[in-house]
């Protein structure tokens, strides 16, 4: 299964047409795939809170948005999630590269990984963790759930899900 294509297909099928990204090595394939789709307008952000602002505006303008970013961004966006996305009750699927989990080669990434789920739980953000490739089968339902309840929803995708970093 090509998970980059599967994720992008599900975004398109759910009417997501505005995607902002702050890149991660693990997300490079899905960002490439999104760039190739005419149905999706892709606008890279310089920082994830800026990206959430773009998504908020796009949603109020009638588009279904999504943000693609690393889990380190949770540390950047707590205020924006609380005072913009949650306070005004807006839907925002967050496809998140879960760095610092199993098969992670960079030790510093673990320092935010250990806080990631606790922060999301503290924020009452529905959170899903994709560890096996078959977990992607839930993505379509997660998108439907997000736009049903008008909440930010986190999809954490770890290195094992993406196929790891090769031999270590």
């Amino acid at each position: 299964m090509n998970i980059d294509k599967r994720i992008t297909d599900d975004l398109v099928a759910n009417g997501v047409s505005f995607v902002t990204t702050v890149p991660c090595k693990q997300l490079a394939g899905v960002i490439d795939e999104i760039d190739q789709r005419d149905e999706i307008f892709h606008i890279p952000s310089n920082k994830e809170d800026e990206g959430m602002g773009l998504c908020a505006g796009a949603w109020m303008g009638g588009k279904r948005p999504a943000i693609i970013m690393q889990n380190t961004a949770i540390g950047v966006t707590i205020n924006t999630l609380a005072t913009l996305i949650q306070y005004y009750r807006m839907p925002l699927p967050m496809l998140i590269s879960y760095r610092g989990e199993l098969r992670e080669p960079v030790a510093c990434q673990v320092e935010m990984a250990v806080h990631t789920k606790a922060l999301l739980a503290q924020m009452n953000i529905p959170t899903y963790h994709f560890h096996w490739q078959k977990d992607v089968e839930e993505f379509d339902n997660i998108l439907k759930y997000t736009f049903m309840c008008n909440k930010p929803v986190a999809i954490l995708t770890d290195a094992n899900f993406w196929g790891g970093y090769g031999d270590q």
């Binding site: 505005f18 310089n46 602002g53 773009l54 303008g61 009638g62 005072t83 306070y87 009750r89």
Partner: protein, 184 residues
């Protein structure tokens, strides 16, 4: 002129357009001067007025004006390259530059010292950047709205605030009312 005087002067120009207004006193002032369903008041999230307005402008065709401040733009400087590289003609960014953090007690910003937001916007790739003195803003803003080109306006003015109440409208009501105005 101080910001509230500027907002009073441009209220008739922006009344019929979609406006995203900066957190704190700017939103409170606009709400008091001329509350409209086409106004989206930010109640939190300093720095994102330009980003929210730009996302809105990209998503639909009506003109959008983001009212921002020098301090708020400085907190989200990454917005300017994004806007420059994805320019859309229905977007106007109005930065009311009074050289101070007005909502927190008029502490000076770097834009009131050595930093020129006009030069920063140009260096970020924004092609249509106009620096204007407060009393001359009206016609410049009208032209920017009417134009097919995206415009960044830096309006230099005095710092100073008026006493006024906070906005008590529920955020979901603000947002819902605004979305209906977008669709109207």
């Amino acid at each position: 002129m101080i910001r509230s005087e500027i907002l009073r002067e441009i209220a008739p120009i922006i009344r019929d357009h979609l406006v995203v207004c900066n957190i704190g006193l700017p939103s409170q002032e606009l709400h008091m001067i001329d509350d409209q369903p086409t106004n989206f008041y930010m109640l939190g999230t300093m720095g994102l007025s330009s980003s929210i307005g730009f996302g809105l402008a990209l998503a639909q065709d009506k003109p959008v004006i983001s009212i921002d401040g020098d301090g708020s733009v400085l907190t989200n400087l990454g917005t300017l390259p994004t806007i420059a590289n994805n320019a859309t003609g229905n977007y106007t960014l109005l930065i009311i530059d009074n050289g101070s953090y007005g909502s927190t007690g008029d502490q000076p910003t770097y834009a009131g010292k050595k930093t020129s937001l006009t030069a920063v916007a140009r260096a970020c790739g924004c092609e249509n950047v106009v620096e204007v003195q407060d009393r001359d803003l009206g016609p410049v803003l009208q032209e920017a709205i009417d134009s097919d080109e995206m415009t960044i306006i830096i309006c230099k003015c005095d710092s100073g605030n008026i006493k006024l109440p906070v906005i008590t409208m529920d955020p979901v009501v603000i947002r819902d009312r605004f979305m209906k105005a977008v669709q109207a």
